[in-house]
């Protein structure tokens, strides 16, 4: 049963991240997932200090808010002439450092293990179950990750046109009256929420990998956005399941193996994708070279 839960939860995380990742890489914001996953640390600490517990809900709220706040700071800096990559780096390193300092300062009050927060391990999800009265509802992570996936799916389906247009042609979107900034922050909020909800159960590194690798892989296979979204989900799920199947015999970190698998899928596509792969490009180039003189 445990392998089923792990693969299911991994696939749900991969699907959420796969959808959002497509928007992120097309908007040239791929590093945002990494930035947010670091930046939310002070949010977790604050939530912990205020609520005094390690309950998931306050942490989810606190971390998501700080994640959103960090994207607002980044946006503000960009609008004031700070280079995009610098705005991102400065913000997330500063917030992360603030979080570490807070943990050191309140070290007596908080029993918050840094490793545990940052490197949650998907292998343990089945032990942490949700009890509703006497009823065992299954792994708590499943509800969290599944809920976030449904929420993401709902929002994207509702506003698909708007998201698509603001991604491909923000100027046109603004011209036809779509509130571009609102959809930017809505997307940022979704990325924050997904990052926070997933990484508590599966670890930060897996979220970052799933936000980028499957979407980038899909981008090599197709030029059509619909297809890219579906392929991204598919590659994400393949990475999750393949990674788990790889991790079991190796007796290695499951999250690490899933990230590695996503990398392997990308490498394969980088070489062999039908139109944008290296081999196919090389083949076409040879065709031009060998053209009769």
């Amino acid at each position: 049963m445990s392998s089923f839960w792990i693969m299911l939860i991994g696939s749900l995380v991969a699907s959420s991240c796969g959808i959002l990742g497509c928007f992120l890489i097309l908007r040239r914001m791929a590093m945002l997932g990494d930035a947010i996953s670091h930046a939310i640390l002070p949010g977790i600490v604050f939530a912990f200090l205020i609520s005094g517990s390690r309950e998931s809900f306050p942490m989810l709220v606190g971390a998501t808010l700080v994640g959103l706040l960090s994207t607002i700071i980044i946006q503000w800096m960009k609008q004031n002439g700070v280079q995009a990559d610098a705005a991102l780096s400065v913000t997330f390193t500063a917030l992360f450092a603030l979080g570490v300092i807070l943990i050191s300062l309140y070290t007596r009050q908080i029993d918050l293990d840094l490793d545990c927060v940052l490197y949650g391990e998907i292998a343990y999800v089945q032990w942490d179950t949700w009890q509703l009265g006497d009823l065992n509802m299954g792994p708590r992570a499943l509800w969290m990750v599944g809920g976030v996936f449904l929420l993401n799916l709902l929002i994207i389906l509702l506003f698909f046109k708007q998201f698509k247009l603001t991604t491909f042609d923000p100027a046109l979107a603004a011209a036809v009256g779509i509130p571009v900034a609102f959809f930017h922050y809505l997307l940022m909020g979704m990325v924050s929420l997904t990052t926070v909800a997933s990484f508590e159960s599966v670890g930060a590194i897996l979220v970052v990998a799933m936000l980028i690798a499957p979407a980038a892989t899909a981008y090599l296979w197709t030029d059509r956005f619909h297809l890219m979204l579906s392929l991204s989900i598919l590659f994400g799920i393949l990475s999750a399941i393949g990674g788990y199947l790889l991790a079991v015999p190796l007796d290695a970190s499951i999250a690490g193996c899933m990230a590695m698998m996503a990398g392997i899928l990308f490498l394969f596509s980088f070489l062999f994708a039908p139109r944008h792969g290296l081999v196919s490009k090389w083949w076409y180039q040879r065709k031009w070279y060998s053209k009769p003189q």
């Binding site: 490009k281 076409y284 180039q285 031009w288 070279y289 053209k291 003189q293």
Partner: protein, 250 residues
């Protein structure tokens, strides 16, 4: 006498698409040559192919009878203005001095002679008094003139200019024409990618009409004809008056 540029059977492919095909061209020496064609005709690509910045699908390019690798020092280049970030922390004089870097080679720094030469180049484009100006504070025309001065600082034999006249003010236009005139007197060969058909006859001795392949090449008087232009631009050309050679490109 070897021609400054000799192109044989050149074709260039981006991914699967051929951007340039079957280019055969031998350029005259000491002339100012306009490269004319619609958007996407491969004008900038041709310049980059000549400079060896792109892999060639087929064909060869010879500069003074030799491949580009041995002849880089003979080429001066004026890129499009948008090709760099103008917020870079440097000033006008420093950018022009970059033109000397090729002659300096590795490790060496520009000396007084290089500085003096760079200053003279700035004077030629009428920007000497702006030498200390931050490049972020320049107008579009001034940016263009800085790039022109940088190319002059290269002391090349052949100059390639990518749309130097695009969107510049009258003063800059005058400065560029002045420089083109100077270069011609020094018997240098200049290629200019150009858009404005009204000024073609005034500026260029020869033309190269390009749309993926060479439509026509030769002295302006012979080549600058309605039928040839229509062939080059397809349906995008509107003839306003045949006598005055007035055209409009859609």
């Amino acid at each position: 006498m070897t021609p400054p540029i000799e192109i044989q059977n050149l074709s260039v492919a981006y991914h699967k698409k051929l951007v340039l095909t079957d280019i055969h061209y031998t350029s005259p020496k000491g002339e100012c040559i306009g490269i004319i064609g619609p958007n996407g005709a491969g004008k900038s690509t041709l310049l980059k192919a000549i400079m060896g910045l792109l892999p060639l699908a087929t064909g060869t390019v010879l500069i003074d009878g030799q491949p580009i690798k041995q002849q880089r020092h003979k080429i001066g280049y004026v890129p499009q203005r948008e090709s760099v970030d103008w917020d870079f922390p440097t000033n006008v004089f420093d950018v022009v001095l970059m033109g000397r870097y090729g002659k300096l080679g590795w490790f060496r720094r520009p000396n007084r002679a290089d500085r003096q030469f760079a200053m003279e180049c700035l004077e030629k484009v009428g920007m000497a008094e702006l030498a200390d100006r931050q490049i972020s504070q320049l107008s579009g025309g001034q940016q263009q003139r800085v790039f022109l001065a940088r190319a002059l600082a290269q002391e090349a034999q052949i100059y390639l200019m990518d749309e130097p006249f695009a969107g510049v003010d009258a003063a800059t236009e005058k400065a560029i024409i002045h420089v083109l005139h100077d270069l011609k007197q020094q018997e240098k060969t200049v290629f200019v990618v150009h858009h404005d058909l009204q000024t073609v006859e005034e500026y260029f001795d020869s033309l190269l009409l390009l749309n993926r392949k060479i439509i026509a090449a030769g002295p302006t008087k012979e080549v600058f004809q309605i039928d040839r232009l229509q062939q080059t631009y397809g349906g995008k050309l509107t003839v306003l008056s045949t006598q005055a050679n007035a055209f409009m490109v859609r």
